[in-house]
């Protein structure tokens, strides 16, 4: 389909573009920027006046819940939500049921995502069978089946020897290993950051060291094995510092941060608001400042949603009995734009963290709008004000702390492979 996007401000950090121009899309690719193509007949024209045209967002961690937990979400509902959030590619962790430790599960996820026809889904395969931390999963087979990386999620591999073997094996085939590092004993009983607020609310804490100790151990094994590694959803300043040091030493290590860790602290839990119950937990103001610094400095390459849709019952309980996670696909942009409003990042830098940065983590050539590149595009209005309602949410998970609150910045159009997959009503 020939699509013409007119009058928008094109921001493409990869190619240092930031100017108002038309975008011509042909055969699923960027055919021209600015200059008209002779004989080009637009089958669809999208008016982007006063709006931003950016590469589609790439979300490094969005839980789909299918197969196994379809009462919380399905590939159709969650990829629809992703498209509404301007996300054109997402990575889903292997924590489905059955666990994504076989080509069959990978294929099921890919097929269902393709049938849904919204957002590109890149499954992450399991590092160990059943995520049990004992036997190596068929990583190479998973990779051949379409897994972009392997991970054990938040299921810690307690045995360092087993983990070392996993990493050695992954390194053999140059597979990317994604860590969600957390010490299982230090975090076992905890439901929020271990600090003065946890003491005040009488909620069991997860100390900062639950993350830093695990990241330190994992980094040492990454160094020893030479594996390509990515650390997902860091929540502490000192963990980001560890990543910075590792990168300075030349390790092939990247890291990302969930948007809520850049915006909120554990003070949000005053009132026992279970919608802010996340894992890793919202941490201190010092951690938040450290993460912002690491984002600006490049230690953190990407901002993700860490989307975790839940059914209502999972959140309607006393805080400690609720399940952690925020349904964040549809609010990723408006939340991330707060970082621009708060002078943490420029708009160009923000777009880089949402597109080019995660693309580079995954070794993809997307996340940019260069001539001939795949037309994964997000058109958004950074000034549009709106209110998130349960009725309007595409995600099956209505567990957003932003329900009913005024938000700023809204996706207008999302294109995947040069096809319009979402249009704001």
């Amino acid at each position: 389909m020939n699509i013409l996007i007119t009058g928008g401000r094109v921001i493409d950090p990869a190619n240092h573009v930031n100017e108002v121009m038309d975008v011509y899309v042909q055969d699923g690719r960027i055919a021209s920027l600015g200059a008209a193509i002779p004989g080009f007949v637009a089958e669809l024209t999208l008016d982007a006046s006063g709006k931003v045209v950016s590469p589609g967002f790439i979300d490094l961690c969005a839980t789909m819940r299918e197969p196994g937990y379809t009462h919380k979400g399905t590939l159709r509902s969650e990829t629809h939500a992703a498209a509404a959030g301007g996300i054109t590619t997402l990575c889903c962790p292997p924590t489905s049921n059955p666990v994504n430790d076989s080509a069959a599960v990978t294929k099921l996820i890919s097929d269902k995502a393709r049938q849904a026809g919204f957002t590109r889904v890149l499954p992450i395969g399991a590092l160990t069978k059943g995520l049990e931390g004992e036997q190596l999963a068929n990583m190479q087979g998973l990779s051949e089946s379409g897994c972009i990386a392997v991970s054990n999620g938040r299921n810690a591999i307690r045995n360092s020897l087993t983990l070392m073997r996993c990493l050695e094996y992954a390194a053999t085939f140059d597979l990317l290993v994604i860590f969600q590092s957390q010490d299982p004993d230090l975090s076992a009983a905890g439901v929020m950051h271990d600090g003065a607020n946890a003491v005040r609310f009488g909620l069991p804490g997860i100390p900062e060291t639950a993350e830093t100790i695990a990241v330190a151990r994992d980094l040492l094994l990454v160094e020893q094995t030479g594996v390509r590694a990515h650390f997902g959803q860091l929540s502490t300043a000192r963990a980001a510092q560890l990543i910075m040091d590792a990168r300075a030493k030349g390790l092939r290590v990247t890291a990302d941060v969930a948007v809520h860790h850049l915006l909120y602290t554990d003070a949000k839990l005053n009132g026992f608001n279970s919608l802010y119950h996340v894992n890793p937990p919202l941490r201190s103001a010092i951690d938040r400042a450290g993460l912002r610094e690491a984002l600006l400095g490049g230690t953190l390459s990407a901002i993700c949603s860490d989307h975790q849709p839940h059914d209502e019952a999972a959140k309607r309980a006393p805080f400690g009995a609720t399940e952690p996670g925020i349904s964040g696909l549809e609010t990723l942009l408006s939340q991330a734009l707060l970082l621009v409003e708060q002078d943490v990042l420029t708009l160009d830098q923000l777009i880089e963290k949402l597109s080019l940065g995660p693309a580079r983590v995954l070794g993809l050539d997307s996340g940019q709008l260069g001539l001939g590149s795949v037309a994964d595009i997000c058109v958004f209005d950074p000034e549009a004000e709106w209110i998130l309602t349960e009725e309007a949410m595409r995600s099956s998970g209505k567990n957003s702390p932003l329900l009913g609150l005024p938000l700023k910045g809204r996706v207008c159009y999302t294109l995947v492979d040069g096809e319009l997959v979402y249009q704001a009503s």
């Binding site: 005040r200 009488g202 069991p204 026992f272 019952a313 309980a317 006393p318 805080f319 400690g320 349960e390």
Partner: protein, 342 residues
């Protein structure tokens, strides 16, 4: 399908008051004004006769139903609430509901909605999860007065207030008092509620004494000074609160042994002598003799442990009668508002 939008999340102290500033739930001592806490104590005093015992019976809650909802086992607290309700002429229903750690909110919600449908006016709630009473008051049955009888590690406000009453009746005003709380503060909802109440009522100093595993430094943020040594911690204090040491703490690497704990922090005659000569000793009970307190101290002249139990009934009568008044007022005001809008 879902009602998560309707879930509101006010700070607990805002949630506890009606629009006129009266108590309508009693969830925590944190954030309540000195006037309100004093009012609770004064009201409790009015329920105590000249012998120091709670009055026989008053008709303040006649025709109203109080449901004791205990999701955790309790004999003492449940009994005192039951007695208090009876003395207020309320009908009382006791429900012991065992819950597993994995029980979901829907179960709790459905249970409560069913009981409310039977015509309950007040829930006295004990639950293993911090914030449970708050969750119920805010998102499940806001139209029923909720009294928190202990939620996880978070709060046990009626226990704190009966301790405040005991202190006030023994020592008069709070302004010059040094109060030491000894033992497992980290896991103690009583201690948290007491620290807030003591600070609000203007105590000169609140001290917390124990090892770092039970008294983390972060507790200072509640407005207390931390001591690791009993001799220093008890020096010149007017009130000592010894907390129960739960035996399971020994199995989770928080302490080496009961004997070591008793040697360092157990309240015996020798350690009691560090405090002022007229210091009083309190304990929320049930006591572990020879673990956190020696029998001679628990049964001694300075002990007020049984006085606390007696005061517990009067304080619970005060809180229940005040909360039901505030809650009924709130419902009337809401009805008037809706009538005016309709």
């Amino acid at each position: 399908m879902s009602h998560l939008t309707a879930m509101s999340h006010a700070a607990p102290h805002q949630l506890q008051l009606n629009e006129q500033g009266q108590l309508r739930h009693f969830l925590t001592t944190e954030g309540l004004s000195r006037e309100l806490l004093t009012d609770i104590l004064d009201t409790a005093e009015s329920f105590i006769d000249s012998n120091g015992r709670s009055v026989k019976k008053v008709p303040l809650m006649r025709g109203l139903t109080v449901v004791n909802l205990f999701f955790e086992n309790s004999t003492r607290t449940r009994s005192t609430f039951e007695l208090a309700a009876q003395k207020l002429s309320a009908d009382i229903l006791n429900l012991n509901i065992s819950t597993s750690a994995t029980a979901k909110g829907e179960t709790l919600q459905d249970t409560l909605w069913n009981i409310r449908a039977m015509g309950a006016d007040m829930f006295v709630v004990r639950h293993a999860d911090s914030g449970a009473a708050h969750f119920i008051a805010e998102n499940v049955t806001p139209d029923v007065a909720i009294i928190n009888a202990g939620d996880g590690r978070h709060a046990h406000p009626t226990q704190a207030m009966l301790d405040m009453l005991t202190i006030r009746r023994c020592k008069g005003e709070f302004g010059k008092l040094k109060v030491a709380i000894v033992g497992d503060i980290l896991h103690s909802r009583v201690a948290r509620s007491e620290i807030h109440a003591l600070n609000t009522l203007g105590a000169e100093e609140v001290r917390l004494i124990g090892p770092k595993t039970l008294v983390p430094d972060t507790l200072q943020a509640l407005g207390a000074n931390i001591y690791r040594d009993m001799k220093q911690g008890l020096k010149d204090v007017d009130v000592i609160v010894a907390l129960r040491l739960q035996k399971e703490r020994m199995n989770t690497a928080l302490l080496p042994s009961e004997s070591e704990f008793f040697r360092l922090y157990g309240l015996n005659e020798e350690k009691l002598a560090y405090a002022k000569p007229d210091a009083i000793v309190m304990h929320p009970g049930p006591i572990n003799r020879g673990v956190e307190i020696e029998s001679s101290v628990a049964d001694g002249e300075q002990s007020r442990i049984l006085t606390q139990v007696s005061n517990g009934i009067a304080v619970r009568m005060a809180v229940m009668s005040m909360a039901i008044t505030g809650q009924l007022q709130q419902q009337q005001d809401l009805a008037k508002q809706q009538g005016a809008e309709g």
